[in-house]
Amino acid sequence: MSRVSIAAAPADTDALRRALQRPGCGGFCVFEGWVRETNEGRAVSGLDYEAYTELALAEGERIIDEAIARYGVADARCVHRVGRLAVGDTAVWIGVVSPHRDEAFRACRYIIDQIKQRLPIWKKEHYLVGESSWVACTHGTAHEHHHHD
């Protein structure tokens, strides 16, 4: 079954959570990335996400496979939004389940960091003042530190 989706509408996070429940899992870790009202000092009114869906899905599945192999977690799901989003909207949802919490936290962190570096998804920010622009996160390497808050 596909563990990654690129969605034009808000995700049903209750359904995602239920799909991850396992009797053997005592730890469930979620990361949500929200649209923030400022970026690099500029007031943001909203943004557009655009994805190369076919490759984003394939790369997302690879990232989850890597997280499972590295940290031994039981399963994970990821949803990334596309289209117009407003401040406060959830842009990305990641859920990881594991027998114990430590692996779930680590795998969740790994997945969001890799998504930001590798998924072919682009963000055009709209500002309260001035012209909209494509946000350029560089194609990072695995050891680079990336903020995601």
Binding site: L55, P120, I121, V135, H139, H148
Partner: protein, 80 residues
């Protein structure tokens, strides 16, 4: 000449003025193809800032083109 399809996203789509084009090219590699298209469309991004995918797989810039390939140049990503 090799007949291929190129898809554009983000700023490349805006600068090309469309998201997809079918074309025939004599470019010997993906790098040569980008150079040709950059000249045609005036792309601001250098190939060093891009990655490239063929048929939904990331590929090396030195790869030659095959008939029917779907090529996508990947500008710096910003998901999450």
């Amino acid at each position: 000449m090799t007949a291929i399809t190129v898809e554009y996203y983000a700023q490349l789509r805006e600068q090309a003025g469309h998201g997809r084009e079918n074309l025939s090219t004599t470019a010997a590699s993906l790098a040569e193809l980008y150079a040709e298209l950059r000249q045609r469309h005036g792309f601001s991004l250098d190939s060093a800032q891009l990655r490239v995918a063929v048929n939904a797989q990331f590929r090396d810039w030195a790869q030659p083109l095959a008939e029917g390939d779907v090529v996508v140049f990947i500008p710096p990503v910003a998901g999450g």
